[in-house]
Each structure stands twice: as structure tokens, then as C-alpha cells.
Symmetry: C2
Subunit: 441 residues, 2 copies
């Protein structure tokens, strides 16, 4: 309790807002509150805001984790009314307006904004939680990079052709932008890095399989762009695209499709959608589809007076908010605006999503984008993609170093950030023994 | 056995050299052998060559681990006669000229160069292995950085003044270049980053204590430089320097000095010297002081015909080789030269260490250096330090990004790489409860 005194002292002074989550929604909620000089406590279990759309580049050794992670405390330099606390929330007592941290501290709030994001959607498919690699977190990306590099090292010393074929099979599940971008980045790694740095694998076949349950890749894009993306992936990058294909199970030894076919591989990358993080349920607030918090059109949680939610964790009643950075940015800002209006006793405003465009990159000089109603492909779309992503990064140093790395990667065709760093959980050791027992259909 | 066949095939063709270790000694041995086009197998338990003199900057959030780690496979692009294998060695059978990996594979060699480096020297002091942080490995540096950042986050929410004082006490043991550079970097962090990013700690006292068992810091330097370094540390950077002070025990709760004084702190950084890694003993070769392999003046292991050793792992008979990058670089090159001479039946050459100079940086624009007999201090020494370290980095991309980061850090006084990344071993959680029970003497 003593630890928490410094936070509770403030409650007497002015209504205090607590923002949970340092993603796009949390960041923009905090910025909105800081502009109104509202005493705000920002909390996250990580000490940084991460730019998740570039996770796939971290996973494929093109960028460093630190380059897409910006310390929350550095953001607060210009926001004097905001304080940050690194902690995890164990539970909540909405009636008493209290949060309980995993350390046992109790944090009081007058208004709460929940922006805790999501994790991979498993659709109840066995093995997804334990045997796949995600891309919804910088730690996920780091873990996937280490796994990919270890798999290649294992393949180098494996003479058994079946085991080597399994090790060199990379399956990506999910045909949205994350899946498409990851497949493209792996294909570029295969084309440019493998022949130079893994000479023993020069004549081996590395398979990249992109699996989508629906009939087409990149569903929100116009048909012309979808066709172009698929053509680029298949004809130029030699990615095996399998649409209308459902996954029925994943194990450490491979992936099984709904038709019964089994593909032996230690690497299944899961990019099939997002569900709310487990925290949403622990807060004791009403949840809907995919465990997301049910919020009304003003982003207030259903049945709560002082709790709002935004970003991937929120399921907005009657508004279709895509689970993209833009949805979270606009939602976080709007939730904070409505907190200010609730404090002032002014009627809340309904949230309206403004679609600023969608884009997905496939590889060097290849992307698709829809911006302000214009459909772009190829080099122009790719330049737009680069510019938008550079501008959205927080912190000038990060922008500079990402830019240097992109220029470097473009000029040299290299992916140089390949040191395996960090403790390795057991899942990272590819199960060569198991893959041997699998059979290629 | 099957896995290993691809390596053993070569044995029939030409004498094959195995080099263990990807540090400075291993790297330069491999480069020497590649110049003579000798079939070489290079092995390490990491997949990168690390530039360890800059570990302290990684630990203090000034550089990224990847910037001082260069993938071994990228080095091999220009060395076609060399192959790399990521593995750990379990044991050796010198009579059969075989190494056994932890996977159970047996690797045959005609000549072996051991360059497996060292780890922190514990002098038998209890607690050093488990309760201190080292700087002899990129993983060490990453772990220390995460620990420092967590300690600060803990201090922010701690109201108990004794516990906070303990959390904000940083003890560095060892007054050589590593200890001096770490103390200086921590002092700069305290001066420039703490007031901006940890506003609650603005009026708290962060203590930095540099402990040296001998009578003076930086023993190999000239007296004038030693005095200057000590003056800079004490007067400019407010580091508490304690010479003639021995540590008798370290626990997770603090450090105890020989006189009985106890200093409560969760952070003891151990930079008091190097002993050979445990691998040296496992190889079944003769070891001497600090577990290092005993080698004669030609760098051949005593009693062995085809085994050489260089770098921190080697204890050279009759030659005083300092445990610095230069000693390892020259030793690795020389060991490889003598392997070539042994192969050709030519008499081996004795190793002579050429002292190219020594340098240590204290902080921005402050360093001491002795180069070619010239003693330099201040700005000039600091520029030399920067230039030498940039040039010694492997890989142009690393040089470029390190340079960008240095310019950035210098211009902004910032240390921006403060995202806590990677799985956290239990030791990283500062033992606040234990520090409370300790008493400041």
C-alpha cells in the first residue's frame, strides 16, 4: 500500500484518468489528455510504445526491436501531466474504481481507458497457442527471428533430405497484410541472403506457404490490387499461395489442413487475426466476440459510467472499426475526448471511423495501397508505404536509424541483423526428430 | 553420426583445421587460415562475432546489441574455405583428434585452435557467480541493461527511503578500463537521462561506487593518466572511487567489503578480471592460473602436438599478453600462422606481443590513452578512442549505425535505447524486500 501512496495523493486534487496500454490507442489517448493537462497515469507491462506494423521486418532480420520500440518515459518528456508506471494488472473493482496490480498494489481512478490491444486469434484450433509464432508484439518478433535463424543453422547440418525439407518449410497462416508482408520478406531473405550466407543450402528448396481460409488474399483491397498482390507473390517471389484452405491443427512437428493433409514444419507463423488480450476478461467488464470489451458508439464500456475502451480490445457497437493502427489511433483520441466531456458533464460524441487508406507491401518496389480512393500498385505504392511508416514511427532517432537500415537493406539486398540474442524458450529448438516422422503428402 | 558426415568428408582431401570461438582471437585465426585457403571449420555457441569492448555502452542504453554483434556467416562470405557451425562442445578426445558436441556429434580435426575466451573472474568470492552482472558477453550486457531499467522503474514507485536508496546504489567492482568506462557511462545516464525521464527521482540520490582492490585505478596506465582519470570520475562525474577495498561477499541484497561494511544494493557489476570459460577444463587439456590453457611460447598447448590456443583462454609461458582485444587479435593470427607452419613441417615461431597502445574513455570528451608512447588525455584521447573503436567494428553497417547513435547521443545527451526486451531471468527483479532489511553503514 505504501508503494502506491504517491499515486493516490493526487486523487484529492483533480479527477485522475488511468490509461491501460501503450499501443497506438493508449498513446493517442494519453496525448489527448495531456493536451488538456489532465492528471493521467499511464500503465503498461512493457516500458515502451511499439510500432507493431513493422514487427515482420524485425522477425526477418531487417530491423532491430529497439528501432520500433520507443520508451514511454521519453514520450512523457513533453507531457508533464502524465506519469508512467510499469506494471501488470491482475484484476479490477469497477464499483470501487480500483485496479489491482500483480504486485498487490491498488490504483484508484476517476476515469479509466482500456487500450490493452490483442493477441493472436486462435479460433479454437488446437496447437495455435503453443506451437505457432505470432507477430503482435516485439517479443514475438524477436522470438520468431531467433527461431528462423536457428532453423537455418539446423538445416545446414542436416543430411536427411526429409528432415531438411521440413526445416526449410515456412508456413504463414492468414492472408491479410501481416501474412502477405511476412511471406514477401521471407521470400526476399531466401533470394538474397540464403545463397550468400548459407552456402550449403544453395541447392536446397526453401518453401514458403501462405495459407488463407477465405477465397482471396487482402480482402479489404480492391479486386485489381488483390490480383496484383497475388501475382507478385506467386510469380515474382515464388510463394505458394493456398486460398480456401483451413488449418485444423498445429503441432511442434507441423500443420494439418482441414482436408487431412499434413505439412511437416517447425515454423508456423500465425497472422490470422486478433482477439482481445486475456486482461479484458480479468477486468470484470462485459466482453463480446473474440473476448473484446463491448463498448457503445461513444466508446464507453456497456453498463459502465467511467470506463472507456479503444483499439483492438474494443468491440464498438454499430461501428465497423478495422483492427489497424488507424482504428486504434482515432479510437484512443476519441475515448480521451469523451472522458474530458464526461468530466465536464457535456454529452458524449459518437465515434466515427475515418478511413485514411490501407496499404500492404510485398517486397522491394512492390506494394498495393488505396489512399483517398486512389488505387496504387508497384513502386509508387511502395514509396507511399515507406513514407507513411517512417512518419508514424515515434522518435526522430528511430526514424533515422530505420531509414539508414532501409537504405542499407535496399542497396545491399542484405538482412544483416542476424545475431541470435536473448534467452531461448524450448520451442525455439526445431523438433528435427518429429519432423522426420511426418510425411510430405 | 549422419548429421556430421558432411563435415568429415573433407578430412580425406586436406588437413582440416577447427577453430573454436568467434571472439577476436578466433576471428583473426580464421582470417589467417582463409588467406592460405586451408579448409577450416569455425565453431561457436553464438552465431556472431561480438565486439566486447563496447558492451558497457549496450548495458547503459547507448548502443544496441546487434550493433556490436556481427553474424559469423556474413564474415564467411569472403572466406570460401571456411565453414561455420553453431554448436556447443561437450568434451574432446585429443588422442583421437575428435571434438564431441552437446548434440552428440563427433567432429574430427587435424589441427585445433582453441579461442573460447573467458568469463568473469570470481576469485572464489561467494555470490559473484549468481548475484553480480558481468560485461564479458553481449547477453550479459543486455541482461544488465534490462536490470538497470527495471531497478529505476522500481525506485520510481518506492516510497520507503532506505529501499529507494538501496535501489539507486550501483556498485562496480574492478578499476580497469571496463569498470572505469561503466562508471562513467552510468554517471552520464544519471546526469542527463534521469532528470528528464524519471521525474520522480529528480531529487533522489543515485550513488555510483567504483571499487578497486589495488591502490589505484587503471594500473597499466602512466601515473599522470591514472590521476587524471580518477579526478575526472570523482570531481566531474561524482563517482565514489574506493581503492584498496576488497569485496568479501555479494548477495542479491548487497555487497560486503573486507572490513565488514555492507552496502545494500541489487546491482553489483563485476568487472574485476577474466578467467577461462569452463570449456577449457572440459577439453581435457592442461590448465594453469584462472583455468586458462597452458601454452608454450609458440601458442601450442603444452604436451599437445596439434592443439593451439590464443586469446583470453591461453596462458602463454614466459610472455605477458594483456587480456585486451589486441592480445587476442595478435594471438589468434599467430596461432593460425603456426598451424600452417606445423602443417608444412617448418619450425614454429615464438609469439611476441606488440603493444599498440591502451585507452579508456571516462565520458563525453574525456578519455586517457597511451599510443605509441604518447600519453593523451581529454578531448584528443577521446577522439582517438572513438576512431579506434569504430575502425575495429566488423561490418560497414554496424560502423554506420554505431556512428549515427554516437552522434545522436552526443548531440542530445540522450540514451534512447531503453525498451526492456527479452525474457527476464528471476535475478532481474530487484529484491526490494531484501534491500530494506540491509542497513546503510
Amino acid at each position: 500500500m505504501a508503494v502506491n501512496a504517491c499515486y493516490n495523493r493526487r486523487v484529492a486534487e483533480a479527477p485522475r484518468v488511468v490509461v491501460l496500454g501503450a499501443g497506438f490507442a493508449g498513446l493517442h489517448a494519453v496525448r489527448r489528455l495531456a493536451r488538456a493537462s489532465v492528471p493521467t497515469l499511464w500503465m503498461d507491462r512493457r516500458n515502451y510504445h511499439a510500432f507493431l506494423p513493422l514487427c515482420y521486418q524485425v522477425a526477418t532480420a531487417g530491423l532491430e526491436p529497439q528501432e520500433i520500440a520507443y520508451p514511454t518515459r521519453s514520450i512523457l518528456r513533453r507531457l508533464p501531466s502524465v506519469d508512467f508506471r510499469l506494471t501488470e494488472i491482475a484484476s479490477a473493482q469497477p464499483r470501487e474504481r480500483l485496479l489491482v496490480t500483480t504486485d498487490g498494489d491498488r490504483i484508484a481512478y476517476d476515469y479509466l481507458i482500456v487500450a490493452t490491444g490483442g493477441c493472436a486469434q486462435d479460433f479454437g484450433i488446437p496447437g495455435v497457442r503453443d506451437a505457432t509464432f505470432g507477430l503482435y508484439d516485439v517479443e514475438d518478433a524477436r522470438r520468431l527471428r531467433n527461431h528462423l535463424l536457428r532453423v537455418l543453422e539446423r538445416a545446414v547440418v542436416t543430411d536427411d533430405p526429409d528432415a531438411r525439407a521440413a526445416l526449410l518449410t515456412f508456413v504463414i497462416v492468414g492472408g491479410g497484410p501481416t501474412g502477405v508482408e511476412t511471406a514477401g520478406a521471407l521470400a526476399e531473405f531466401r533470394r538474397h541472403v540464403l545463397p550468400r550466407d548459407y552456402r550449403r543450402l544453395r541447392n536446397a528448396t526453401m518453401r514458403i506457404v501462405l495459407v488463407e481460409a477465405g477465397p482471396d488474399l487482402l480482402p479489404p483491397f480492391a479486386p485489381r490490387l488483390r490480383a496484383r498482390a497475388r501475382h507478385d507473390l506467386e510469380a515474382t517471389f515464388h510463394v505458394e499461395v493456398r486460398t480456401d484452405t483451413r488449418v485444423s491443427a498445429v503441432t511442434a512437428g507441423g500443420v494439418t489442413f482441414a482436408g487431412g493433409e499434413h505439412l511437416p514444419t517447425p515454423t508456423v507463423i500465425w497472422a490470422a487475426g486478433i482477439q482481445a488480450s486475456t486482461l479484458a476478461a480479468r477486468l470484470g467488464l462485459p466482453t463480446g466476440r473474440s473476448g473484446r470489451l463491448r463498448v457503445d458508439a461513444t466508446l464507453r464500456v456497456v453498463g459502465e459510467e467511467r470506463v472507456f475502451a479503444a483499439g483492438d480490445v474494443a468491440l464498438v457497437d454499430g461501428v465497423d472499426v478495422p483492427q489497424l493502427a488507424q482504428g486504434a489511433i482515432q479510437g484512443g483520441w476519441h475515448a480521451a475526448t469523451n472522458v474530458l466531456r464526461a468530466r465536464d458533464g457535456v454529452p458524449l460524441l459518437p465515434f466515427r471511423y475515418r478511413n485514411k487508406g490501407i496499404m500492404a507491401t510485398i517486397g522491394r518496389s512492390r506494394a498495393v495501397a488505396t489512399i483517398a480512393g486512389w488505387n496504387l500498385v508497384g513502386w509508387l505504392a511502395w514509396c507511399c508505404w515507406l513514407a507513411v511508416h517512417l512518419v508514424m514511427l515515434v522518435g526522430f532517432r528511430n526514424r533515422l536509424v530505420v531509414f539508414v537500415n532501409w537504405v542499407w537493406n535496399y542497396a545491399t539486398y542484405d538482412r544483416g541483423l542476424r545475431a541470435i540474442l536473448g534467452a531461448s524458450p524450448p520451442v525455439e529448438t526445431p523438433p528435427a526428430a518429429q519432423t522426420k516422422t511426418g510425411s510430405v503428402p
